[in-house]
């Protein structure tokens, strides 16, 4: 009878019950009357014997109603008593679960912080980020120009606010040491977009976008620390890039935009971009794509509804300005999804991997519980025989599992808290919002759900066994325990463990090989003994000529520093992850603007290749004559030459890059040198194609400086600082890093991922081997008597040994076959998730298999040896 039927039947049962009790009473009365008792007395006596009918009926009903609560409580008490009686089992189980649930909770808390937690603004679900979209797909952020942004902003009717933003370091002078601040240049309605208000002063207003206005909103921390926390700050001016900016507001504490990056300290409007040192301010260059866009949808409009109108605007822009790169559509996504960015794939991968660890833990526990159930069969059989319902015993087993899971879950949350505390600070800020990882309500609910699911998962096998096996037999069987080995369920569980364990191992091997590949491959330059730094140079005070003179003087002095070998300029620095890509036209194969090839570019000074340690293959380095008056030239790297001039000599070829810095516009440039590949991005498997401009022919502001030291590079920092301040005391130095630091920071996410995955695989291996060991040694214990008889009858010890090994080999073999298939399938699936790490070589899987085999052998050998060393006399007498 199902629960539903029973519920429907309850009323019928109650009326039946009442009628039966009434009948019972009448029967008694009749009997007493027949014996000669007067009717009145008979009724009284029957009532007396029976007790209060109402009360009994009520009690009878209570039997149905309240029993499950009482049963649950007594089950719980009994479960705890059982666990106390088997402390070894309880400890092993709780520890396994603590590891499994702890690791899962920790990873989930990171996923929660990075991907799930809503943006910290009112109605965050209406915030949408917008990228341009070409025929081949979304172009990525930072790819909208000001004129296009203005058109999107004015022409759309689906967004309440549409805001542009781009980051721009800004120097703060005049209040103590000069410092470089993280600044963000935004359109005026950033605060209305986010539905936030400054805690002091006001938000920007439309007229703050007018060229010539210099308004700034400062971060709470900057206000409190550097600017003294004075509430009279509003209306005062501070010097940013040596220009006076009026402070119009102070952001609330904790406020940051863009979300997920480092703390921004000042926000200013695009008026800053509207007056530019170059010929035409970037706010009027439709080709200067540098903006990210976020919008707040109008109330009642969904992303899907916004798509078509925005696409129409994009298409019309592409139509109106055909000389620029074509983006005939836009890509809209919830702003929250944009925050996680590239970290999304790896995090999902981790969540999957750690889920496998939990699966392993469950399989392990199920095995443990299964052997315990077998041991307790006599207890269960007895209880069943004397009237316990089978379902009650199953529930008992499941309650025990739940009790164990709760203990493990609590320990797991504690483990997760420790893991988060220890591991997250190591990651730094390379993964957005990861530093905000906490064990919050959502994480606790997750852990709780995990605990419940886990308890069901690992108690299903034993419970199924209780339901299907003939439990009554063991009572009669006396001590002749079953001789069927670990049983089908136990074997299945071991096979599953080996398969899952192998998948974890091969995943870890994949990441490790990726990691080794990343860290040991040739970055194309020699990072050791390099010191790099940037200088916050205000464009307002540094005209082109002054900037050139400054760098000349700087390089000259740095080159003569004791302990320095040479110095040069580069923009951007290799491996920092920042890159500039610009399209170019090839003289021998000209093409229309939107079909031109695109490549990374960099601007370097003469001597850069030698200072960085990048080998020159052919041609020449830049020299002092490669300046504004000299013939336009570029140097390309090997990847560039192979990609754009395959099978040809690139030297002497001419290209026309779209990058320009003066009124002469773009120019055809001759390739004069070919250098080895130096990597521009820290991740990814392919070498980036790069072409290099001489700094003097493209003096964009502001290149970083690299110094090659004779000894320990970090020790050069004080003298470098004094050189810079001897030229201009107000210039802040920032991003001072050694080459090795740049190298390691770039691979931090991969290091993090690899370390975690190796940890998971190690736990997985431990669980798998202990599962196999447990099943085999349990079966040896159960077969002690049988093995004893075999040996007594003349079986050789090697034969006994091989009997156990054979049993193990079947399980391991089956597990490996499934695991290999799973690994191959999983590899296809995860390839794209992992920062472009390659699928790795075919050698990885055999390595993982070998490790698994070695572990399995260890887990088999010990029980097998014990079996072989059984003393037949002892074994027979022990019964």
């Amino acid at each position: 009878m199902t629960w539903i039927q029973r519920l429907c039947n309850r009323r019928r049962i109650e009326t039946d019950l009442a009628e039966e009790i009434r009948g019972h009473l009448e029967e008694r009365v009749d009997e007493l009357v027949a014996r000669g008792v007067p009717l009145q007395d008979a009724v009284h006596q029957a009532r007396r014997e029976f007790g209060n009918v109402m009360l009994i009926e009520e009690q009878a009903r209570q039997v149905w109603k309240r029993r499950w609560i009482e049963d649950l409580l007594s089950d719980g008490r009994f479960a705890l008593r059982q666990l106390r009686k088997a402390p070894g089992f309880a400890a092993a189980g709780a520890l396994t679960l603590a590891l499994g649930i702890g690791a899962n909770t920790a990873v989930f808390s990171v996923v929660n912080a990075v991907m799930l937690r809503p943006l910290p603004f009112p109605e965050p679900q209406r915030l949408v980020s917008m990228w341009p979209r070409s025929e081949t797909g979304p172009a990525g952020p930072y790819d909208v120009s000001y004129p296009n942004f203005f058109d999107f902003r004015d022409e759309n009717k689906v967004f309440e606010h549409l805001v542009s933003y781009r980051s721009s370091p800004i120097s703060l002078t005049g209040s103590g040491e000069p410092v470089q601040l993280r600044g963000e240049i935004v359109s005026w309605d950033l605060f209305p977009l986010l539905n936030m208000q400054p805690i002091l002063g006001r938000a920007f207003q439309p007229q703050d976008e007018d060229p010539g206005v210099r308004a700034v909103i400062i971060a709470h921390t900057l206000w409190k620390t550097r600017l003294g926390g004075d509430s009279g700050i509003i209306g005062r001016t501070i010097n940013l890039d040596r220009e006076p900016y009026r402070v119009v507001g102070v952001a609330p504490p904790g406020f940051n935009f863009p979300v997920g990056g480092e703390q921004v300290q000042v926000w200013t409007t695009l008026a800053t971009d509207a007056r530019s040192a170059t010929v035409q301010p970037v706010t009027r260059q439709r080709g200067a794509r540098m903006l990210s866009i976020m919008g707040r949808l109008r109330d009642g409009i969904s992303i899907q509804q916004a798509q078509a109108p925005m696409d129409r605007i994009a298409a019309s822009l592409a139509e109106r300005y055909p000389q620029h790169r074509r983006y005939p559509g836009v890509f809209l996504q919830p702003a929250l999804d944009d925050v996680a960015g590239l970290a999304r794939g790896p995090l999902l991968f981790l969540l999957g991997a750690v889920g496998l660890v939990l699966l392993l833990a469950c399989a392990n526990l199920a095995t443990l519980l299964l052997s315990r159930t077998t041991e307790r069969e006599r207890e269960f059989a007895l209880r069943l025989a004397i009237g316990a319902a089978r379902s009650r015993i199953v529930r008992q087993v499941m309650t025990e599992a739940l009790a164990l899971a709760l203990i493990g879950g609590l320990a797991g949350v504690a483990t997760a808290a420790v893991l988060v505390d220890v591991a997250v600070p190591l990651v730094g800020t390379t993964i957005p919002r990861i530093q905000q990882t906490t064990i919050d309500g959502r994480v606790l609910v997750f852990a709780m759900a995990l605990t419940l699911v886990t308890s069901v998962l690992f108690s299903v096998a034993p419970a199924a066994r209780l339901l299907h096996d003939r439990l009554n037999d063991p009572l009669k069987e006396s001590a002749y325990a079953n001789v069927h080995g670990p049983g089908r369920l136990g074997s299945t569980l071991v096979v599953v463990q080996i398969a899952v364990g192998l998948m974890l191992l091969s995943g870890a091997a994949l990441l490790m090989s990726g990691f080794v590949h990343l860290t040991h491959r040739d970055p194309g330059f020699q990072p050791e003994r390099l010191l790099t730094f940037s200088i916050g140079m205000p464009g307002s005070e540094y005209s082109r000529a002054r900037q050139l003179a400054f760098y000349d003087q700087l390089l000259e002095r740095l080159g003569h520093l004791p302990g320095a070998r040479s110095a040069a300029l580069a923009m951007p620095l290799p491996l920092t992850g920042s890159s500039m890509t610009v399209a170019f036209n090839i003289q021998q194969r000209p093409s229309p603007p939107h079909e031109r090839p695109v490549s990374n570019m960099a601007i370097v000074s003469p001597g850069f290749f030698q200072t960085a340690g990048i080998a020159m293959i052919h041609g020449r380095d830049f020299g002092d004559t490669d300046d504004a008056d000299g013939a336009p030239v570029v140097i390309v790297n090997r990847a560039f030459a192979e990609r754009f001039f395959p099978g040809e000599n690139a030297i002497g070829k001419r290209i026309e890059p779209g990058a320009t810095s003066d009124e002469r516009g773009t120019r055809m440039r001759e390739i004069v040198g070919l250098v080895e590949n130096a990597r521009q991005s820290p991740l990814g498997s392919r070498a980036d194609a790069i072409y290099y401009f001489p700094y003097r022919q493209l003096p964009w502001c502001c290149p970083s400086v690299i110094v090659r030291a004779a000894g320990f590079p970090a020790s050069l920092e004080p003298s470098v600082r004094s050189v810079v301040s001897s030229i201009d005391r107000q210039l802040p130095l920032f991003d001072v890093r050694t080459g090795d630091e740049i190298l390691s920071v770039g691979v931090t996410p991969v290091t993090f991922l690899t370390a975690l995955m190796v940890g998971f695989a190690a736990i997985g291996l431990l669980l798998t081997s202990s599962g196999l060991y447990g099943v085999l040694s349990y079966s040896v214990v159960k077969r002690t008597r049988e093995i004893g008889i075999r040996i007594a009858l003349g079986a050789s010890r090697p034969a006994v040994l091989s009997m156990v090994v054979r049993q193990s080999a079947i399980l391991v073999g089956a597990g490996l076959v499934i695991g290999i298939a799973g690994s191959i399938a999983a590899r296809r699936f995860i390839g794209g998730l992992l920062f472009g790490i390659d699928g790795g070589t075919l050698l990885l899987l055999p390595t993982a298999v070998a490790v698994m085999l070695a572990t399995a052998w260890l887990a088999t050998y010990l029980p097998a040896r014990r079996a072989a060393s059984i003393d037949p006399m002892f074994a027979l007498r022990s019964e």
């Binding site: 009878m1 029973r6 049962i13 039946d16 019950l17 009628e19 039966e20 009790i21 009948g23 019972h24 009448e26 029967e27 008694r28 029976f50 007790g51 009994i56 009690q59 009878a60 039997v63 149905w64 049963d71 007594s74 089950d75 009994f78 207890e379 007895l382 209880r383 025989a385 004397i386 009237g387 316990a388 319902a389 009650r392 008992q396 009554n472 009572l475 009669k476």
Partner: protein, 112 residues
Amino acid sequence: MAPHTDIKRGSAELMVLAAIEERARHGYEIAKLIDDRSGGVLRFHIASLYPMLYRMERRGWLDGKWIEKAGQRRRRYYRLTPEGRKVLARQRSTWRELLGALQRVAGLEPGR
């Protein structure tokens, strides 16, 4: 639930099953039979008899049917099902074993 509760309930179930082994009986008859057979030592608490009957019915051990005979009130008769018969046999053997063990261990010689 702790085993001693199981034993109490188990013994009651055994008695009820045994009481209807030969033929179907109604609740009053069952209670009376147990009372009589045990010489009044084992007396059923009525409040637990009927819920127990229902429970055993639900497990498919016995079958309850309302029967009206001429000149009698409507009564619910309980009949042993084949499954109930098996359970009875099993429980008998278990109890025999248990009692045997008790006799050996606690010195409960029959008739003492």
